[in-house]
């Protein structure tokens, strides 16, 4: 602005005209010669060129995923006891804790009546299990209050975050999608509890894997279901 003013207002009589900044630059450039002017233009690319040799900070997302924080709040998981029975007891405390009303739970009674006599089967140790378990990921804000509310550590969160999909229906995860996959030594429920064990023994860590009888019962059921 000062330069503009100096250009616009004529120098008062008797004073020596002060050269403007632009004029001074022109004089300097002329003094340095044509070659340096050309090099000035090239020097501007020096920064761009030097960047080629710098370490790349970008996360190459789909190819190389940076691990999340260990306790990142991602997709939920319904855990199992070491013998494959579900930990969820259908108490609905998670649904009550949820500030966004994203969880739907419907409990039902475990039934030890044999299946061929009309029994519904046993899915968890103890009295009740979660028959319907749904989480609406378009409401869930991943706050983790459901995890805090869960009395049996049945509900925990994984670090998985790739959830985008193209319809509302697909983002309501049902129990089958949320249940942890069967690990080594687990038998798929419904099956009986471990012999000589009661519910509290499961939480005291006395059950370590499914017994052969439990495996046999689960295998029989899958074969029966296949027919």
């Amino acid at each position: 602005m000062a330069d503009d003013k100096a250009l616009a207002t004529p120098a008062p009589d008797g004073d020596v005209a002060v050269p403007t900044t632009a004029a001074r630059k022109r004089d300097e450039a002329a003094a340095r010669g044509a070659l340096s002017q050309v090099l000035d233009t090239v020097a501007g690319f020096g920064v761009s060129f030097g960047t080629i040799f710098r370490k790349l900070e970008t996360e190459e997302y789909p190819e190389e995923k940076r691990p999340t924080a260990k306790r990142f709040h991602g997709r939920h998981q319904l855990n199992r006891h070491p013998d494959g029975l579900e930990k969820c007891v259908g108490c609905e405390l998670c649904a009550w804790a949820c500030p966004a009303d994203a969880i739907l739970v419907e409990g039902a009674d475990n039934d030890d009546t044999p299946l061929d006599e009309g029994g519904q089967g046993r899915f968890s140790p103890g009295e009740r299990y979660g028959r319907v378990y749904q989480i609406n990921y378009l409401r869930c804000i991943f706050c983790g209050l459901c995890i805090e509310a869960c009395p049996t550590r049945a509900l925990t969160m994984t670090n998985e975050y790739e959830l985008a999909d193209n319809s509302r229906e697909k983002l309501i995860f049902t129990k089958e999608q949320l249940l942890a996959p069967l690990q080594e030594g687990m038998a798929a429920p419904p099956h009986a509890m471990a012999p000589h064990m009661e519910e509290r023994d499961y939480f005291l860590g006395k059950v370590h894997s499914a017994t052969p009888e439990q495996h046999a019962e689960a295998d029989q059921l899958t074969e029966g279901g296949a027919h």
Binding site: T58, E59, R66, R139, C140, Y161, L163, E169
Partner: protein, 184 residues
């Protein structure tokens, strides 16, 4: 619109569809449409750390007339709804919408009279992205999911048939305001 609209459906059209889809997915420009906290994560995607330019989105377009993708990032209030619709209408075809975050997707935890319960009440949404807010990788994942859909987008005669089928399905579907349970 162009020559592709006149082609009969067949091998030629499906080849052009594939080619056009491949080019379209690699040259999308998002409109800046940050409404709330999700916008911060959307801005983070533009930084060199995540670098949205790797997906052909060289810059966020400040005018909807130069944008193909509207990322609705944040909760849409009832007062903002007509503006969202106007911005969408000003975008030239073909155009896509990502509902970023739970508020834009379904209202999220703001289940009240002030917030539109899902931006799909006012504009057609292609990708729903959960998260509150979604981390930048989640937005990139949504964009990649959208790319997969764009590649399959029909043209010409196929597009007319697809639009008719979509309209039939939409007429048969339960309106969003009548949905019950977790879908509401």
């Amino acid at each position: 619109m162009g020559l592709e609209e006149q082609l009969p459906s067949g091998i030629l059209l499906s080849t052009i569809e594939g080619l056009a889809g491949y080019m379209r997915k690699a040259s999308m420009w998002p409109a800046t449409f940050g409404l709330a906290c999700c916008a911060i994560e959307m801005m983070a995607v533009g930084t060199p750390d995540y670098d949205i330019a790797r997906f052909g989105m060289e810059r966020f377009s400040a005018t909807p007339r130069q944008a193909d993708l509207m990322i609705v990032a944040g909760r849409v209030s009832q007062k903002m709804a007509p503006v969202v619709r106007q911005v969408y209408d000003q975008m030239p075809n073909p155009k896509w919408v990502i509902a970023m975050g739970v508020c834009a997707s379904s209202g999220g935890m703001f289940n009240n009279y002030a917030i539109v319960q899902g931006v799909d009440h006012i504009v057609p949404v292609d990708i729903y992205l959960p998260g509150c807010p979604p981390r930048p990788e989640m937005l990139l994942n949504a964009i990649i999911t959208l790319h997969k859909e764009i590649v399959k987008m029909p043209l010409g005669a196929n597009r007319v048939a697809a639009a008719r089928a979509a309209e039939e399905a939409a007429l048969a579907a339960t309106p969003t305001h009548q949905m019950k349970g977790l879908l509401a």
